[in-house]
Amino acid sequence: MYGWRARIGFICPSMTAETPLQEFPMVAPEGVALALTCLSIQRLERDNIGESLAKLKDATAELARAKVNVIVLGGSPTITYGGYGFDKEIIRQMNEVTSIPCTTSQTGAVEALRRLGAQKIVLASPFAEDQNLLLKKFLEDSGFTVAAVKGLSLPVIDIGPMPAYTSYQLAKETFREAPDADAIYMPCAQMPTFKNIAPLEADLGVPVVTSLQAMLWHVFDMLNLREPVTGYGRLFQTLQR
């Protein structure tokens, strides 16, 4: 099998997955594979997010049957839906159907920002204002100061085929509003970011945390995968002993 070292079960909250499949192989060590199952978010509206979360336990059970080594729910809106602490509730629900370790990508993002010593951050997102406000509140409740927020107000379906340079420009514009921030956070694993992480860190002098990067860092850490991952930000360097 391809995932002879580790197999990561990924619950993608939207009905389609594109960027995580493209970016995962850029950083995955040899022998690490991703098993994907999709929920059904088509619009970032409360009803649609709730309907999708109703499928969480089934999705967890399907990945558990495939005997993956860890299961992670992706998405910020799936967590900010329930507010601060909801990631812990989601993990509890997942653990009701499996003893395989479970987590969420939002949990990973908060841990990543903490690992990098971030306190005052800027939020550069593909989401509209309503989702950005929920995420800002979640991050503030998690102990961070959110010094600037910029969103692209893109529909979910348009985030995957975004031009690769868009997240670079978005992050730079957001940082310009709060140049004393000590980290940049870009949510949403469907937003292409991987090629921009290292250039942004070089240009702006602060660490960059993106959703998929933080999620993979978090599960690599859980799986004790310590192989160097270079070229995709300072975060991955913290995995090394």
């Binding site: 391809y2 995932g3 389609t16 085929p161």
Partner: protein, 244 residues
């Protein structure tokens, strides 16, 4: 002039409705094979046990997923799952026309891609090696017969559908050796199901036995690339991608 598409899939974005509820091998092998600038957009369906109820549900989900993939602007939608494609009868071309009419994006199916690959390679006498228990033999040989292709021998590795991601990489070669003993005059080996690890076995099987190999994944990827006018000849995964 149209603005340049500075996106991962700047040459082609291929949509795929992926039958297994936990999809693992398809994206892995896809990015082993395709050239830079081609991306995959996946929507997973509901197959865990491969029973009739799941296949029926997956058919319905795949139609909704095809709409969502079209909405995301993919260049082609591939309706995955040979049993799902054929669950309402063997008129797969009719299914393609119907879905294309609804979503206004070019559509193909896993079945069409594999049978097109057989024709392209001139397959006549075929051995089938698959990952499943023997209860899948009838479905697979009937499919070939519907396209006027003969089954010389068939063997399954005996794995359940929820084990596909863990099938050892040596399985395809082991099946090939047993099948070619049974049917040494076969001209083609068919490895259906694009969700077990076979990509690395294609060239070695072709070389060892002097036959052509059609795998579900390789055929789907080949057909999708060519439909999207990506005509790169790709080495390492059989004659199909290298020559056609």
């Amino acid at each position: 002039m149209e603005a340049p598409r500075d996106i991962y899939g700047y040459r082609a974005r291929i949509g795929y409705t992926s039958p297994p509820a936990a999809t693992e091998v398809f994206p892995y092998e896809f990015y082993m094979i395709v050239p830079k600038g081609v991306s995959l957009v996946v929507s997973t369906l509901a197959i865990v046990d491969m029973d009739k109820d799941e296949i029926d549900r997956s058919y319905e989900i795949s139609l909704r997923a095809a709409h969502e993939l079209a909405r995301s602007g993919v260049d082609l939608v591939v309706l995955g799952g040979l049993p799902i494609n054929r669950s309402r009868g063997s008129d797969v071309d009719g299914l393609i026309r119907e879905v294309e009419g609804n979503i206004k994006v070019p559509v193909t199916t896993s079945t069409s891609a594999q049978m097109e690959a057989m024709r392209k390679l001139g397959a006549k006498n075929i051995v089938i090696g698959h990952p499943f228990p023997d209860d899948q033999h009838g479905m697979l040989t009937t499919c070939l017969a519907d396209y006027n292709l003969e089954t010389a021998a068939i063997k399954g590795a005996g794995y359940p559908a929820d084990y596909l991601g863990r099938v050892p990489r040596s399985t395809a070669m082991s099946l090939a050796r047993e099948l070619m003993k049974q049917a040494p005059n076969a001209d083609t080996m068919w490895l259906p199901c694009p969700h077990w690890a076979v990509a690395e076995s294609i060239d070695p099987i072709e070389k060892e036995f002097g036959i052509n190999v059609v795998t579900a994944h390789q055929a789907i990827t080949w057909s999708a690339l060519r439909r999207c006018k990506v005509d790169d000849k790709i080495a390492g995964f059989g004659r199909l991608l290298r020559e056609f």
